[in-house]
């Protein structure tokens, strides 16, 4: 792909009303939807009216006055960006008079702009430069001796972009992008008149301001005023490759803009259907880890984990891996090894890893990191609706009237989707937030939840059942929907259960700590406020009742008829880029791709025929069970691709003990992660920039990942898996991931229509995509539930066994923050550390005061599982009795604290509820110091011999 800029039609598409008008622009007739601007109409005709303040990501503004046109029968020269088309209108966009006016305006612009184009970072990629040429400006008669806004100091505080007010033309595009697109309102125009200037918060540096560094302002800037440092350093790009972000489950599409082999910037792609041209600080800027010096580029092996690593050739590493696995299986049995697939890797890679295990290892000991995040979603939605995925696309939120957010913090975890949601909220949608913490959605500039239900961690089921109680007892349910779409008898049983007085808001108030009135009001709003949409996150799943909570959510949606159309639904916000895909690809020990149980004979036979081996009909081990089995001595070898279970899985001591008990742990990753401290073979992985494949986002959207540069480590991850497989005697011959997808499509009915040529043609597809749904499925369950009738499941509230008491009086809950991603392996290796250099413990002022803890103090955090130390942040974001931390930094190791309690149905760990004590401390615990030593020892590397 060569470098071409995306077309900018100047103003957004009109809101559809179904009516259209016909007009004439420069003699050409065009018919388009009413409400379209003249500017957009002209652009759609292939013309181009000069513009600077208009860009189609934000509403028209009308300030630059370059886009003036003539309209027959109208006085003056209306701005084409703010003037909508009208029936029969006759517009002229290129008359001599217009040229004269535009030149006059441009002459003014340039009279207050530095004349340093040749040395400017945006030279050749500057709208001001382009438009000055377009209007034919030759002379600035005002001279350059008058007043100017030049010579102001640059703000270089943001690690990724600079702000140079001297080059600013005060078009307000950045301010409007921050307001309209991102919804943070961090920018303003300071002052008035000639002195007007863009200001971050109160005229301070961007870094210290309210700016969240999403990049929307940089994207919107028509000049070099806001420009990526990298562009200044490397130069403007000369080619671009469209690909998919490898951070969260939103799945933003980016143009990777390259100069030669060097990545200059990641630019959100306007045609990306998940992100619609928006981005967050991670995807937009935090890709520097891909070239970080910590990346391991040579394979390494060692006989035991207390030895230094020895760099070896790929051949040796692969052969060693295969022989170790075969040796272990020969000694301890077929089921003594297994593997873990990665939600970070592509569908194709994930598919190959589980294929390696099922076909090559001969067992079903495959699991994936979804185990520890959304496995209850898979179970719960499959039980109730019949499919293990969210029901909507992201666009759907723009049709929602009431949004219920449960246990999710999208402004940090799913920022690009959160911006869409906030936009809808600013348009007037109502909001209910069910979360122990006062997240930004509860109240932040320009948005405020109608109801915040700050429940005690661990009481989701009680709360949702109480909402159901209100809906049923006040007869707010949608009887027609239920009768048509669900089993009425099952509903009746469920209704009888939830109607019991013990499940009323009043009865559960002592458990949840939330006022019954507030619960009743929230339930009424959800049931009666129009299109009700539920979005939920790990605050739902990571509990001992995670699966019950998912089913309770599904029950609410069915009871109120909020399934099966735009604007409603049940939507898990997926944590990782490809967690949906990893689940779809058969990463769980009990099922093949497409969620078909291994005991299903027809399915198994299909795979056996294709793969030419007989397959195990028994479910395999889940991750915690693998670790148990390892401790017990029956499980000896593990292949871990792209996941750091030591840091991310609960009860670090348990994980460490399991890993330490194995004879061969193979880690395939970019970096020597924490798990690698216990590994015997390290296979360097490739980044998403270095390979082809697909990711599937939270809306079931399958999108292409495209190779932008050659893998630094030599191989794409799928190639490495193929090498291992073939070394183990399998005969794989994939030349390209497209062939893997063809195999997936052939073996998986919901993916039957998914092929690379279609993805190329259409950009993306949402599964199911097959003969029944040739264009994919943006909204599920439209005419009926996938399982037939929607199933109401009685969800009893079974409290967790993790209880507070005198030793551990506080409840710890965990989560993540905008600038970092999960275990932080990537984001910690970028300048994102500028925002969040360490994990901190949020504690309520009263709890802090009781313990003599002040802001910034070191505190010891202790549970029955372990102890760590970190610094305190005293805040009312958390309720009294609740503390909160993130788990991005290995120095903190928050999972030393978390316990091995887990969801009853899926063993998803109960990260969100741990009874803890917090006490003042002097610094890192002994364990942390020991661990740091051990990690240092474990990471010693003996380089490859020069001769090799």
């Amino acid at each position: 792909m060569t470098f071409t800029r995306e077309t900018d039609h100047g103003t957004p598409a009109a809101i559809a009303t179904g009516k259209s008008v016909t007009l004439t622009i420069d003699g050409q007739a065009i018919t388009l939807p009413e409400g379209t601007s003249i500017m957009r109409a002209a652009s759609l005709l292939g013309g181009s009216i000069p513009k600077l303040c208009a860009t189609d990501s934000v509403e028209s503004f009308g300030s630059c006055r370059l886009c003036l046109v003539e309209v027959e029968g109208r006085n003056g020269y209306p701005a084409s960006c703010t003037t909508p088309v009208a029936e029969g209108m006759v517009v002229r966009t290129q008359t001599d008079r217009l040229k004269q006016l535009r030149r006059g305006v441009m002459e003014l612009y340039i009279s207050d702009h530095p004349l340093d184009c040749l040395t400017c970072g945006a030279n050749g990629d500057c709208e001001l430069q382009d438009q000055a040429g377009a209007v034919g400006l030759r002379d600035v008669r005002y001279g350059y001796d008058g007043a100017t806004n030049m010579g102001q100091a640059k703000d270089q505080s943001n690690p990724y972009f600079d702000f140079d007010p001297s080059k600013c033309i005060v078009c307000s595009r950045c301010v409007r992008a921050c307001d309209e697109v991102q919804g943070t309102f961090a920018l303003t125009i300071e002052g008035m008149g000639f002195d007007s200037k863009v200001s971050a918060s109160q005229g301070e540096g961007f870094l210290g301001s309210e700016c969240v560094s999403c990049g929307a302002c940089v994207q919107a800037c028509p000049t070099a005023s806001l420009i990526e440092k990298k562009v200044v350093e490397v130069g403007t790009p000369d080619r671009a490759v469209v690909t998919t972000c490898a951070y969260c489950g939103v799945g933003c599409t980016f143009r990777a803009e390259m100069r030669g082999e060097e990545l200059v910037r990641m630019v959100p792609w306007k045609d990306g259907k998940a992100n619609r041209g928006h981005s967050c600080v991670k995807g937009r800027f935090a890709w520097g880890y891909a070239q970080h010096q910590d990346r391991i580029l040579n394979p390494m092996i060692r006989a035991s984990i207390d030895e230094p690593w020895r760099e070896v050739s790929w051949d040796e590493a692969i052969a060693h891996t295969a022989s170790e696995f075969r040796r272990i299986q020969a000694k301890y049995g077929t089921r003594s090894i297994g593997g873990i697939t990665s939600s970070r890797c592509t569908n194709e890679e994930t598919f190959l890893v589980q294929k390696l295990i099922r076909q090559g290892f001969g067992n079903n000991n495959v699991d994936t990191c979804a185990r520890v995040c959304h496995s209850p979603t898979g179970y719960g939605l499959s039980q109730t609706f019949g499919t293990s995925a969210g029901t909507q696309d992201f666009d759907s939120v723009m049709q929602s009237d009431v949004i219920l957010v449960i246990g999710a913090n999208p402004t940090d975890g799913h920022p690009v989707f959160a911006s869409r949601m906030k936009r809808r909220l600013r348009q007037g949608a109502r909001l209910i937030v069910m979360d122990p913490r006062r997240t930004d959605l509860v109240k932040s500039p320009h948005i405020e939840a109608d109801h915040h239900l700050p429940l005690r961690p661990g009481t989701n089921v009680a709360m949702l059942t109480a909402m159901a109680h209100v809906i049923v007892t006040e007869k707010l349910y949608d009887e027609a929907f239920i009768r048509e779409r669900c089993d009425w008898d099952e509903f009746a049983d469920w209704a009888e259960f939830v109607s019991q007085p013990a499940r009323s808001p009043e009865a559960i108030e002592p458990l949840t700590g939330v006022k019954a009135d507030e619960v009743r009001a929230a339930a009424r709003l959800y049931a009666t406020g129009g299109n009700g949409a539920i979005y939920y996150g790990l605050g739902v799943t990571e509990h001992s009742q995670g699966s019950s909570t998912v089913m309770a959510i599904a029950n609410l949606a069915m009871a109120t008829g909020n399934v099966g159309r735009e604007g409603v639904g049940v939507n898990p916000l997926r944590g990782q880029n490809n967690v949906q895909g990893a689940c779809d690809m058969g990463s769980f020990p009990h099922e093949f791709s497409g969620y078909r149980h291994v005991s299903d004979t027809a399915t198994r036979q299909l795979f056996e025929r294709t793969w030419g081996v007989s397959l195990d009909a028994e479910p395999g081990l889940r991750i915690p069970n693998m670790l148990d089995a390892a401790t017990d001595g029956t499980f000896k070898g593990l292949f871990v691709q792209g996941e750091d279970i030591l840091q991310s899985d609960p009860n670090t001591h348990h994980v460490a003990a399991g890993l330490a008990a194995m004879e061969c742990v193979v880690v395939q990753d970019l970096f020597l992660n924490e798990t690698a401290n216990y590994a015997h073979v390290f296979l360097p992985g490739s980044t998403f920039l270095e390979k082809d494949g697909t990711f599937t986002n939270a809306e079931r959207r399958i999108q292409r990942v495209r190779k932008v540069m050659a893998p630094l480590n030599g191989y794409a991850d799928w190639e490495i898996v193929q090498l291992v497989a073939n070394a183990m005697g399998l005969r794989w011959t994939y030349d390209h991931p497209a062939q893997i997808m063809d195999e997936i499509a052939a073996l998986t009915p919901t993916f039957a229509g998914v092929h690379y040529d279609r993805l190329e043609a259409e950009g993306s597809l949402q599964w199911p995509a097959n003969d029944a749904a040739p264009d994919g499925t943006p909204t599920m369950h439209i005419d009926g539930f996938v399982r037939g009738k929607g199933k109401f499941v009685v969800t009893d509230y079974v409290p967790t066994d993790e209880k507070t008491g005198p030793r551990f009086p506080l409840l710890l809950t965990t989560g993540r923050i905008l600038s970092h991603y999960n275990v932080g392996a990537q984001t910690r290796r970028t300048a994102n550390t500028a925002w969040h250099p360490e994990d901190r413990l949020e504690i309520h002022p009263s709890d802090a005061e009781n313990r003599g803890i002040k802001e910034g103090d070191w505190v010891a955090l202790k549970s029955r599982a372990g102890e760590t130390t970190l610094r305190a942040q005293v805040t009312e974001r958390v309720a009294p009795g609740v503390v909160y931390t993130t788990f991005h930094h290995p120095e903190t190791q928050a999972n030393v604290i978390t316990t091995d309690y887990s969801d009853w149905a899926t063993n998803c760990p109960e990260y969100k509820v741990t009874a803890v004590q917090v006490m003042p401390s002097n610094g890192p615990s002994d364990w942390q110091l020991d661990y740091a030593d051990q990690a240092r020892m474990s990471r010693r590397i003996a380089p490859l011999e020069a001769a090799e």
Partner: protein, 150 residues
């Protein structure tokens, strides 16, 4: 100031359209809108700091630093100019010992431009600590200077 703002919003509401009234109230109370108060106002009305900063800096009325103990707002608009306003403006600066738009070093007085007080047939006009004064001449300036000195 936090308490004042809390009390004010409790009485008048905390919607965005209360921003100008609140800024007037804060300035009335404290004499100016300190940068440090902006975050408090932003929180009170659920706005960003940037929102409030943009508004504070847009309007001539809002001060980010304290004014002098006395404030003389002298009209510079056409009708007063037609009646000798330019000369009075120069004389006022000299007589009061402070340049237009500035506060005197001793903090006694701020001389500020205003564009029309609506007393256009009797100029040149001024507001002296909020009190309207018409037909300003040398004698009037002397009286003002004496008031300020007192």
């Amino acid at each position: 100031m936090e308490e004042f703002i809390e009390g004010w919003t409790a009485r008048h509401g905390a919607t965005r359209d209360q921003l100008l009234p609140l800024l007037h109230a804060v300035q009335e109370e404290a004499g100016y809108v300190a940068d440090a108060v902006v975050p408090v106002i932003a929180r009170a009305l659920n706005l960003s700091r940037a929102d409030v900063h943009g508004v504070v800096t847009f309007y001539h009325d809002f001060r980010r630093t304290p004014a002098g103990r006395h404030v003389v707002k002298l009209c510079r608009a056409e009708s007063c100019q037609a009646r000798g306003g330019a000369a009075i403006e120069a004389a006022a600066a000299q007589r009061l010992g402070v340049a237009m738009g500035e506060t005197r070093g001793d903090g006694a007085i701020s001389l500020e431009p205003v564009y029309c007080l609506g007393l256009c047939a009797v100029g040149p006009n001024a507001l002296v600590d909020g009190r309207p004064v018409a037909r300003i001449d040398g004698a009037a300036l002397d009286r003002i200077a004496a008031e300020v000195a007192a």
